[in-house]
């Protein structure tokens, strides 16, 4: 099983060897998709894969350590009422999470592919994309 998570750190939690512990203690594979951490804390987008129990325990461990954990779906949101399906976001998204449906020409947002990089936020003319982390 795979799960994409958005982690947010306060300064204390930034110093913990959390990726090491996730790998060593919970038997998870950790793929760091994005990290922005400095002295005042930061955020990290990771993909963990492993057994469902392992992932559950890993998330428990992170929360105990004071790390904020949210599934990526809660990281970036598109307001479908606002989206005009223009496509301005399509060519800036590094992971192809935003694509054109060839039939309807609607712009499809595939949250599974999103790594919450935020590049599309200020590229969207009606401001339909929102980053929540």
């Amino acid at each position: 099983m795979k799960s994409k998570l958005v982690l947010s750190f306060n300064p204390e939690a930034s110093n913990l060897p959390i990726t090491h512990n996730l790998i060593a203690k919970h038997g998870l594979l950790v793929n760091i998709l994005r990290a922005e951490i400095d002295e005042v804390g930061g955020k990290m987008v990771i993909e963990v894969s492993g057994k469902p129990e392992g992932i559950k325990e890993g998330i428990g461990y992170l929360k105990e350590s004071g790390v904020g954990v949210r599934p990526i779906k809660e990281g970036v949101r598109r307001d479908d009422e606002v989206c005009t399906h223009c496509g301005a976001c399509v060519s800036v998204c590094p992971t192809k999470a935003l694509t054109v449906d060839p039939e309807t020409k609607k712009i499809v947002f595939n949250e599974e592919k999103c790594v919450a990089c935020g590049v599309c936020i200020d590229a969207c003319p009606p401001r339909a994309m929102e980053i929540l982390i």
Partner: protein, 402 residues
Amino acid sequence: MKQARRSNAKAGRGKSFGEIRARADEGNAVVMTAMEFKEYVRANGAGKAAKEVDIVTTGTFGAMCSSGAYFNVGHSDPPMKIQKAWLDGVPAYAGLAAVDLFLGATELDETNNMTHGGAHVIEDLVRGKAVRLRATAHGTDCYPLREMDTYVSLKTMNQAVLMSPRNAYQNYVAATNSSGKTLYTYMGKLLPEFGNATYSCAGELSPLLNDPYYRTIGIGSRIFLGGGEGFVVWEGTQFNPGVARTPRGVPKRPAGSLALMGDLKQMDPEYVKGLTFTRYGSSLGIGIGVPVPVVDENMANACSVTNDKIVTGLFDYAQQRRARPVLRDVTYEELNSGEIEVKGKAVPTSSLSSLYKAMRICEVLKERIVKGKFKMTEPVEKLPLDRPLVTLDVRTEKEAMK
């Protein structure tokens, strides 16, 4: 009627605008969306299409910077000759009599964050919202009031009219960026080192690309505008029909454009949208639909044009000059494929105009015509084919008069 029309078409004389309109009035016109018509011609040829089809509906939805609206907000008591006015913080031009205001789409909120402008105020009004009107005046004997702070909405105004000097561009350029930093432009966010390319035209669905020589679209044409009805009132500004064209006559660069007017009170927020181009400012996203009568086989040919036959130029916006060199010509088919090649590199593309909404508009307009709710009008004056485009240069008074 049907018989007569068919034999006229067969004789190569086509059908007149009046005949087509009469058929539409009787509910007998054959109406197709631009998408359907192109398919029909592919399968049956332009000759048959000219005989069988009366009207093709075209549409576009995109950022149209040269848009605006004027309002008559009514007289106050005591009356006021408004000299300066702000609608939700966005300056409106008040140099028109006492209580007529003009609000431009790209006028920015004076808080200067460049994210809120006239276009957003126009959308809010169309949504039925109230906006704050602040106004100041010198005060005169006939108009003594000097200050006003109130709310207005479309319900409280006498007239609220969209009036756009330049909309519905016939073709537009594509943009990319060779520099090492991200550029924020009216063509959207352009990533460094040819990181992406953007374009802003509905291609084969776009009204003026289906009538490249303005045979049927002209001053007085009734159109779908922002969900309501409007009219073509003049040639659009920067009208430039003399650009290079393909063998079929389709302009390869921005060419014609339309000046449009329509009642804001009829409009639908679905087709009127305040847009923000980061670090450029605001622009108005507006939906436009134009019915094109298939008067003869030439017109059928024109309306059968497809994206592989429509070309535009790709320009490097890192060149901050009026005349940027063209990097390459590119078709809308290539642009719509999601990727084009630039200097040996595969560059992802983004449309800035909504093809989804353009298709919707073609469908809605077709439905309105079929149901007899939308009456086509014949232009009262043609758009020009011989308009040169001039530039702004530093010149002396004498040079300016030459």
